[in-house]
């Protein structure tokens, strides 16, 4: 069997293994094995590439592989779960950079060998470099905002939209030009430079809290860039992996935008940057009832059925371990504890699930919104921990509210509601929450971790 045939078969095997790998993620108990398959697929594809006849010197390759592994290991093993959003943004930057550089290298080589690049290949290369470069800087900004070395607030400037549109138009013009004039390398590199600027200008004006949607979109763009690479160099496993990544990013951004009550086009065109609108109602005249840790502990200790609603505040306070501890105490007292997970609780799809899994909460105690929403009525206590928007009844009742129509968790239907938060501050959407003023609810003020520790102490000594 010739080297090329070995390589082609390895790519086919890798493609199939990637697909089976992702399929594993449809079932929690098959997910790990699935990812193992995908990893094997990656290994097979690497080996299949190394045997290719074109690959003649291995020295630099080895340098890259070792360096990459050295960077990858800490990114895999040391990054804490709470840092996942920035971790993922960072990786998109790497992925897009790799795709872009391959595109440049391919273009430069073809050109310096005096080859004529056909329209299809040139379109693929231009697309790859455009989307790749845009994703590199866009992901970098997203990373910076999430890691908080860039300001999280929207950075706006004058004529922002006009400038962005102008940049995009020029880049599109260059794209068209270089496709029909592949030898015009100035156009190619200028387009590349503009794409990096577009990436910056696209993401800078977006608030830090909106970054998850940005990340998903960037995921999808990086996937498309990878597919374009595949078209350019005629490699199907790249096309397939790129399409899978593209589909994943695209679908996650749709899921998020739906659950956040944003329109689909809003997401598609990246125009999700506007700062959250101000509250439509004020809390004037309403009084929220505070509760002491002692009283709250008493209620929890005697509850037969508790539903925990975690939110972004749990992630901020890193309170997931204390939640599990408290749940175990309640269970020891004969109560049942379930967790209600809103699709966009936290700041990333699946955010709450990972944190609770980290704290050893079994995933069959975690219920999706549709599964548990009818059960709140029977619950003795709904324990809201750092969640706000996802339990705001205005989404059901107030047509004037910006989140009206967004599906929410019916925590307000529980017999008693205990809310753990630090102040009366609003959540991500910046709007008042009537739940806090409801008759059946009371607030336990303070950092969620501290409050939970107090609750645990009270129940233990009781």
């Amino acid at each position: 069997m010739s080297r090329e045939v070995v390589s082609q078969i390895s790519y086919l095997a890798a493609s199939v293994l990637f697909i089976f790998g992702l399929r594993g993620l449809t079932k929690p108990d098959k997910a790990r094995r699935g990812m193992l398959l995908a990893a094997v697929g990656m290994l097979v594809a690497i080996i299949g590439t190394l045997v290719k006849t074109e690959v003649v010197s291995y020295g630099w390759i080895l340098v890259g592989l070792v360096l990459g592994s050295l960077i990858g290991y800490p990114l895999g093993m040391w990054v804490p779960m709470t840092a996942m959003p920035q971790r993922i943004a960072f990786s998109h930057m790497f992925g897009a950079l790799a795709a872009t550089l391959v595109g440049v290298s391919e273009y430069f080589t073809d050109l310096s060998n005096g080859e004529t690049i056909g329209i299809p290949k040139m379109s693929a290369l231009a697309f790859e470099v455009l989307f790749g470069a845009l994703t590199v800087t866009g992901s970098f900004v997203a990373f910076g905002k999430l890691a908080e070395f860039l300001p999280g607030r929207p950075i706006t400037y004058k004529n922002q939209n006009a400038i962005n549109l102008g940049l995009a138009a020029v880049a599109a013009g260059l794209f068209a030009y270089v496709v029909f004039n592949p030898e015009a390398s100035w156009a190619f590199y200028l387009m590349l430079a503009l794409a990096t600027l577009i990436g910056l200008f696209l993401v800078l004006p977006i608030g830090g809290a909106d970054m998850p949607v940005v990340i998903s979109l960037m995921n999808s763009y990086a996937g498309l860039a990878a597919s374009a690479t595949g078209f350019a160099i005629g490699n199907e496993v790249l096309i397939i992996a790129g399409a899978l990544d593209g589909a994943s990013g695209f679908i996650l951004s749709i899921v998020m935008s739906r659950a956040m009550n944003r329109s689909f086009t809003n997401v598609l065109f990246g125009a999700f940057g506007s700062a959250p609108t101000a509250s439509t109602r004020t809390s004037e005249g309403l009084v929220a009832a505070p509760i002491s840790a002692e009283d709250a502990a008493l209620q929890l200790a005697h509850a037969r059925s508790v539903i925990v609603v975690p939110g972004y505040g749990m992630a901020v306070a890193q309170a997931q371990h204390q939640i599990r501890e408290l749940a175990e105490l309640i269970e020891k007292n004969g109560g049942e504890v379930r967790y209600a997970i809103h699709p966009v609780a936290g700041r990333m799809p699946g955010h709450m699930n990972v944190l609770l899994a980290e704290a050893n909460v079994p995933y069959d105690r975690l219920y999706e919104m549709d599964e548990i929403n009818d059960r709140f009525e029977e619950a003795d206590v709904a324990l809201v921990i750092g969640a706000n928007d996802v339990v705001n009844p205005a989404a059901r009742t107030d047509p004037g509210s910006p989140i009206y129509g967004m599906p929410i968790l019916n925590a307000d239907k529980a017999k008693r509601v205990i809310v753990l938060k630090r102040s009366m501050a609003t959540g991500f959407a910046g709007i008042e929450n009537d739940l806090f003023y409801a008759e059946n609810s009371s607030l336990l003020f303070g950092d969620a971790k501290d409050s939970l520790q107090k609750l645990i102490g009270e129940i233990k000594t009781a």
Binding site: L25, A38, I71, G72, M84, L101, A226, N235, I239, P362
Partner: protein, 95 residues
Amino acid sequence: MAFADVYVFVLAAFVGYQIITRVPALLHTPLMAATNAISGISLVGSLVAAGSDRNTLSTVLGVIAVTCAMANVVGGFLITDRMLSMFRRAEKKQN
């Protein structure tokens, strides 16, 4: 560029759509990490760029690309597995 590749892309997008829409919300974060890892497949391009002695620029860009892609592969698969290993059922009483 073979036209058949267009079919490959369209079909792969279908497969992707059908699989991803069936990934439960529970596993959305691992999914993001997993696609990150898989995106490291751009190695198949960057290894060739780095190792085929075409010209210096190609080799330099190739090595950087190999580094970035490999970081995603190693980091991505490790963190996905780390996350997934935390998800577990409540089979027996937890301690």
